[in-house]
């Protein structure tokens, strides 16, 4: 059927569009130091412990993107969605001055999560950039002006 072909074509085209976007590679522009893996894991451990207090304002207060932190906190389900167990880190990757730890685990309601806990070095100071490690947001790096961001569409989960 032509209509079915059209739908298929649209999906294929959409896939192609996504595939093209995959071609972009993160730029590593930083002259800043990169937060080490061990330092990033230590920062995550501290945040895991802090999250158990279930105080969003306190949790997000020292996060660089505190608005985004509060927003993601709420989107995931609020305090009741915070796992009591620390996540399993399946990947640690540096994007310039950013470092993302891929966190895997299960929320109290039984739903799995896969998210990136992102830290960075800014002016020599390590700060938490994206803090909701039990959420759903992944992170694909830093892109210079005009470069093509990478999409996560179709990427296999790491968890």
């Amino acid at each position: 059927m032509i209509f079915r072909r059209n739908v298929t074509a649209a999906l294929v085209a959409a896939s192609l569009a996504v595939s093209v976007a995959f071609a972009g590679e993160p730029v590593r522009p930083s002259r800043e130091s990169v937060v080490s893996d061990s330092e990033a894991r230590a920062m995550l451990a501290a945040k895991v412990k802090q999250a158990q207090a279930r105080d969003v304002a306190a949790y997000c207060a020292d996060v660089q993107l505190f608005d985004m932190c509060e927003r993601q906190w709420a989107k995931v389900g609020g305090a009741k969605a915070i796992p009591s167990q620390p996540p399993t880190i399946v990947r640690s990757v540096a994007y310039g001055e950013f470092r993302a730890l891929r966190a895997c685990g299960t929320r109290p309601d039984g739903t799995p999560y896969e998210a990136d806990f992102v830290v960075r070095s800014q002016e020599g100071v390590a700060v938490v950039h994206l803090a909701i490690w039990w959420g759903d947001q992944t992170y694909s790096g830093f892109y210079a002006e005009g470069s093509e961001p990478t999409l996560s569409v179709g990427r296999p989960p790491l968890c």
Binding site: A14, A17, R71, T111, D136, Q137, Y143, E145, P149
Partner: protein, 479 residues
């Protein structure tokens, strides 16, 4: 080729035989074929179809004696026949004195129009295929040769029955009985017959309810091959039902809709001079193959990334953008899929640069994915600004929207009054922007946050929606 069984009057007849053959090029030259000593004015014409396909069941009409369109030409004979199993059809046309007189009156030529219409299979099948078969009209000039008393056919230029699929690669959504087709780019049309055709087509489409929303149709006709591009501007869609229009209702060519190409649409006006602008575009789409149910919504896809304005000295600004697409699962509305698309960004100027504008902006990727329909209000819907001076305060906006299921959360929006957070709505369903317009007192490394949520639904059969996901910043030095 003669078909004697159709000869009711063997003398003074013009026989036009229509035979399907696997020829490729039509320029069948048949001068005077079949003229015999017994009846010098009997002429047989063989018309070769170019498609190589049998046209069994094709309705063929032969109109003899028409004049040029500009002249007053009342047809002298109008005959119809149905092609046989071999795709052949013949007409017995008497070469009457009237025909001869008309030919002599019009410079020795007699214009005959041979038109054919065919469908493949049943009407239902054709509708299911969204194929449209139009009548193909060919002009046959019969030249009267007084000395021999015969008509000759110098050239038969017939493209015959070439079924052109309409909406091919352009149907983007099938929603109930409604088909959305996207088309675009057009050229001017000015020839009288194109204008005539447009009016007929438009009237027919409107009468049948294929056109809605007062879409302004425009057409681009290729007079060489007879194809027509059928386009409309705002809102860049034609709403039409799957159609199989009877070919006999349209003449002068075949029609097809070409896909729309949309390029270079700016995210937000970027015409302000002086500031550096970064407007990163990506395409965010849903992955229907990896459903994860969360509540009554299935998470489909999401990502965050950081971008920014840079120059040779390094970054001047940065923003981290997150987007997320949720697809409602356990939906009970037959034929519809519900989606919510969210973007937010936190950005700041860096290295002594000041951010003067920050935005996120989504535009449905109409060209490649399912059409979207509004399903509630985009969030935020109101501009937040101050008339009471500049103080830091905390406010909340709702970022929950959509029906029948509402999700989301209250978003505590820390803002400095005298700053303006503004939504920007577009005519396209699903296109929305949220913009922060800057504040001179906001220094470097002071982050501002913009967010939006767009609830839409799509036809389930149309697949997943995609968005152009734009975000951007302006920065200026100093601060």
């Amino acid at each position: 080729m003669r078909h004697p069984t159709h000869r009711k009057r063997p003398q003074r007849r013009l026989i036009c035989g229509l035979v399907t053959a696997a020829a490729v090029v039509v320029s069948a030259l048949t001068v005077p074929v079949g003229a015999s000593a017994e009846d010098p004015r009997i002429l047989s014409t063989t018309v070769v179809f170019p498609t190589g396909q049998p046209a069994a069941g094709a309705e063929v009409e032969l109109v003899t004696g028409t004049s040029d369109p500009a002249a007053d030409g009342t047809p002298l004979t109008i005959m119809k026949a149905v092609a046989d199993a071999n795709g052949a059809v013949s007409f017995d046309v008497p070469a009457t004195p009237e025909l001869i007189d008309r030919a002599q009156h019009e410079g020795g030529r007699l214009r005959t129009v041979l038109s054919s219409t065919a469908r493949q299979g049943t009407v239902e099948q054709a509708e299911a295929d969204l194929s449209l078969y139009f009548k193909r009209v060919s002009t046959v000039w019969l030249t009267y040769e007084p000395q021999s008393g015969t008509f000759s056919v110098p050239v038969v230029d017939v493209q015959a029955l070439r079924p052109l699929p309409v909406f091919d690669a352009t149907v983007i959504e099938q929603l109930g009985e409604t088909t959305l087709a996207q088309v675009g780019t057009l050229a001017d049309m000015s020839s009288p017959w194109v204008l005539h055709l447009k009016s007929r087509l438009e009237a027919e489409m409107a009468k049948r309810g294929y056109i809605a929303n007062n879409d302004a149709l425009a057409y681009n006709v290729n007079t060489l091959d007879g194809t027509m591009t059928w386009v409309t501007y705002s809102p860049q869609t034609i709403i039409a039902r799957p159609v199989t229009l009877p070919g006999e209702e349209f003449e002068y060519g075949t029609y097809e809709i070409l896909p729309m190409t949309t390029r270079g649409i700016p995210a937000v006006d970027t015409t302000d001079a002086g500031d550096a602008v970064d407007d990163v575009a990506l395409t965010a789409g849903a992955d229907t193959t990896s459903k994860k149910e969360r509540g009554r919504w299935g998470r489909h896809d999401n990502d965050c990334f950081t971008a920014g304005v840079s120059n040779s000295n390094g970054p001047r600004s940065e923003r981290t953008v997150c987007w997320q697409i949720d697809h409602q699962v356990m939906d009970t509305t037959k034929g519809r899929s519900y989606w919510q698309y969210e973007m937010d960004a936190s950005g700041a100027g860096v290295r002594g640069n000041k951010m003067s504008k920050l935005w996120v902006h989504s535009r449905p990727y109409f060209e490649k994915a399912a059409s979207q329909y509004r399903d509630g209000q985009n969030i935020p819907t109101h501009t937040y600004s101050s008339t009471e001076g500049c103080d830091t305060s905390t406010d909340e906006i709702s970022v929950e929207s959509g029906s029948p299921i509402k999700i989301g959360a209250k978003h505590r929006w820390t803002r400095t009054t005298c700053e303006t957070y503004s939504p920007k709505a577009y005519s396209n369903s699903g296109e929305h922007a949220s913009i922060w317009y800057g504040n001179d007192s906001v220094k470097e490394l002071v982050y501002r946050h913009v967010a939006m949520k767009t609830p839409v639904y799509t036809a389930t059969s149309a697949g997943s929606p995609l968005w152009h996901a734009w975000s951007g910043q302006w920065v200026s030095s100093g601060g």
